[in-house]
Symmetry: C3
Subunit: 360 residues, 3 copies
Amino acid sequence: MSSHKIEAIARATGLTLLGDGSLTVRGAAEPANAEADELALAMSPSYADALRGSRARTAVVWGEIDLQEFGLEAALVASRPRIALAGITAAFQHQSDIAPGIHPSAIVEQGAEIGEGAAIGAFAVIGAGARLGPGAVVGAHATIGSEAVIGDKALLHAGVRIGARCKIGARFIAQPNAVIGADGFSFEPSDPASSARAAGHDTASDSNADTRKWLRIHSLAGVEIGDDVEIGSGACIDRGTIAPTRIGSGTKIDNLVQIGHNVQVGRDCLLCAQVGIAGSTVIGDRAVIGGKVGIPDHVKIGADVVIAAGSLVAGNLAGQAIYMGIPAVPRMQALRQMNMVRRLPELATELARIREKLGL
Amino acid sequence: MSSHKIEAIARATGLTLLGDGSLTVRGAAEPANAEADELALAMSPSYADALRGSRARTAVVWGEIDLQEFGLEAALVASRPRIALAGITAAFQHQSDIAPGIHPSAIVEQGAEIGEGAAIGAFAVIGAGARLGPGAVVGAHATIGSEAVIGDKALLHAGVRIGARCKIGARFIAQPNAVIGADGFSFEPSDPASSARAAGHDTASDSNADTRKWLRIHSLAGVEIGDDVEIGSGACIDRGTIAPTRIGSGTKIDNLVQIGHNVQVGRDCLLCAQVGIAGSTVIGDRAVIGGKVGIPDHVKIGADVVIAAGSLVAGNLAGQAIYMGIPAVPRMQALRQMNMVRRLPELATELARIREKLGL
Amino acid sequence: MSSHKIEAIARATGLTLLGDGSLTVRGAAEPANAEADELALAMSPSYADALRGSRARTAVVWGEIDLQEFGLEAALVASRPRIALAGITAAFQHQSDIAPGIHPSAIVEQGAEIGEGAAIGAFAVIGAGARLGPGAVVGAHATIGSEAVIGDKALLHAGVRIGARCKIGARFIAQPNAVIGADGFSFEPSDPASSARAAGHDTASDSNADTRKWLRIHSLAGVEIGDDVEIGSGACIDRGTIAPTRIGSGTKIDNLVQIGHNVQVGRDCLLCAQVGIAGSTVIGDRAVIGGKVGIPDHVKIGADVVIAAGSLVAGNLAGQAIYMGIPAVPRMQALRQMNMVRRLPELATELARIREKLGL
């Protein structure tokens, strides 16, 4: 972490300053744990008591408080706590471990172009003809395939794998061990009967079953990712078959998310941890998809949807609505169904009473 | 990609050639994006308009079309589109980034045997006594444990981890960061009461709870994988306790799949992304298991099953049937249940009317 | 594997010895596969026939059997089979591939401290100022961030990523490609309307939707992990925002588990494969959480819970109970609901009969 004057943080974050802006802080902490030279984060009145007992002389607070009452010398007023947190954490974030320049152990293959000020970590491998934008950071043990293109100020953490010929925009962040550009999972049974069976059309008389082979459909295309995209640890985005898999600018993808071949994800989406999206599906802009949601192949999800965590999508979903459940339906309908299922034992009892009454 | 004559592609794929087979193409593309020297992929009549407007002079088409009508000079007729796609993509697939031979930065430990024509990438580590078949390719940053055996023409992408003493057949493909042969997740509470509780038998009087320790059952055996198996990015196959975990020949495993210790997966199965199979379960041949399916430990799944994506298996499943739901039941039953749940509010209304009528 | 006298194994495991304890065995195997110098594992009477036919001269058995009847010269009696298995597998477990000392290809950055007897594998990177306890083993291609602290006898397998400033206790085991200390997935929409929408409060009139940006809340804190913790392949534990994400001593975490930022997991928990826990949630001690369970953000799960595999938790859960279902409810209630759903077609038929009888 680095030290900052309170007035500099106020300017950077747009928060209102109370008291002495010339004080310097070296980090941020919860009120109970903050040291005297740390900024106590007390964005809601529920922190009032902890703030009174805190060693901190400065704080981010929920409103125009009386500094003296809380033993503070300066404060920043956060009307929107999480927006403030974004600004504060940006001010104090740690710098990358990777020093600018190319680590002597890294391998930069023939024809690769490394932008000015880029930092390449230990044992990184930059493939032949790859292009890395100015200010990009490549962590230790990362692998960038041949002819891949990665934008300005991208940050690839340790062990990230970028496949050959993938194209990624500026300010990309990839958490450790994320994989962009593995081959799609696309196989076709060699015999038509099993093809039908795999699609669920026919279970009987599968006489070729014991000689079945899965023919591999290879992935000729890559992955194209816009600007300001982030992808989590262990998350996977497979390459396209003929045309690239695409992720729109501004989209954020959490850990262990799976995105199949040919998928098109829109701009400014949020895909939470362990989401799975099967091949060739199209997700509209600004979709917010909760953790563990499953979306089948070849469906269309409209823009501005919210899909609750754990839902299982069964088909196309219209945009600008909230979905929930297994299968996913509009949220009000899902809640009604869940409520009915909870009441089922009661309904069964009523039914029994009615039958008794009717002598059935 | 490499260039091919249309007649050579016809021979390799078995597709019927129309027109001038001597033309050369350097790749395949969707009709709308294809350049003049690319093969437009128009396997269904829905592409007819796009094909008419395409710059491509050659195409793969859905039937015996009139070449002139579509402005083509040659075409290949695909009666089964996805089989054709398998052949076409095989013809144009990119070659591996890894050059034959052992990269100077790679480490090949004592006693390791590297087959003829094998290619070992930058910073790969081949453990002591490991054996790698002829023509195998090991990506950058891959780790192969001591005494592991890997077959001919295997392709291990970047960051793949193969544990010590695992045995893998020919033509194996492992996508980046796949892990074969981690230790099984096998723990036993040190006190019998918690053992019962963990199994769900008893929640009361757990007097030893606060001194519980989990005893580790170590994994002495490895993983044995047949020929022609593929495993996805970040997927995990744990080693066995006493006897190896086994994956049958021809089975394809997608990204982020978890296969627990001692599991036996049959031949020619398809396990889609994020499937989880708990320890000691047995999966029959040719099972097709949809994305995110969960299968508990110690169950038997018959051959030729299809399990719909997102299902949660609760016990043994007989073979040659389609299952669906939470818990997984035969598909027709699952659909009936889902339909009934959807109709529940309606049933409740009817019930209320009946009660009213009866004065209950 | 190493060779042991039967009497030494008896002492180490506390099992009762029958017969000649001076015999030496070089491994353990199932009765049907055991060689003469291997210990046959026959902890239940169901192995009696296999044991009679086994080549093994020694076995672990289910009770005080007659050695001659089974052709054995020595046996160890296991009253609790899985406890015995823990001891037996510990005796025969394989040693790490990594030789003590620092592999010449590894990079140990400035100020890093490596404990006595530690073993650092090929291409490992130990960041500046990191501290590694005595006897710790770091696999090939592992990355340890700057100023991270890792306890005595920790075992990090190949490709493990430990983020900067994370603190981990003694005897930690991390399976290949596990990731500790990636950034949390924490974003806030720049416009208040979308903030409400993302929380599910409002779907209409989202006039700022097309200019939305996700503001990043950075993760300033690390991950703190107690003693005797294990984490599976590809599993992810994200760092905290202001205070660290914490994992209590003795907790075991399986493959592909996701633990979000700020989460607090208690002591001696068991988290099975593909579990996902969203940010800021608190899990009590000794929780046993089945595979694929999803737990939302900001909830509290009490101590000594068992949550059945595949459950989706919707809110706080009281301790010392067993939960199941989507959403997770006490198990008896879940079973009742599942049973009712199964009976729904029958209820609908009854309802139809009643309506007919009543002329409705």
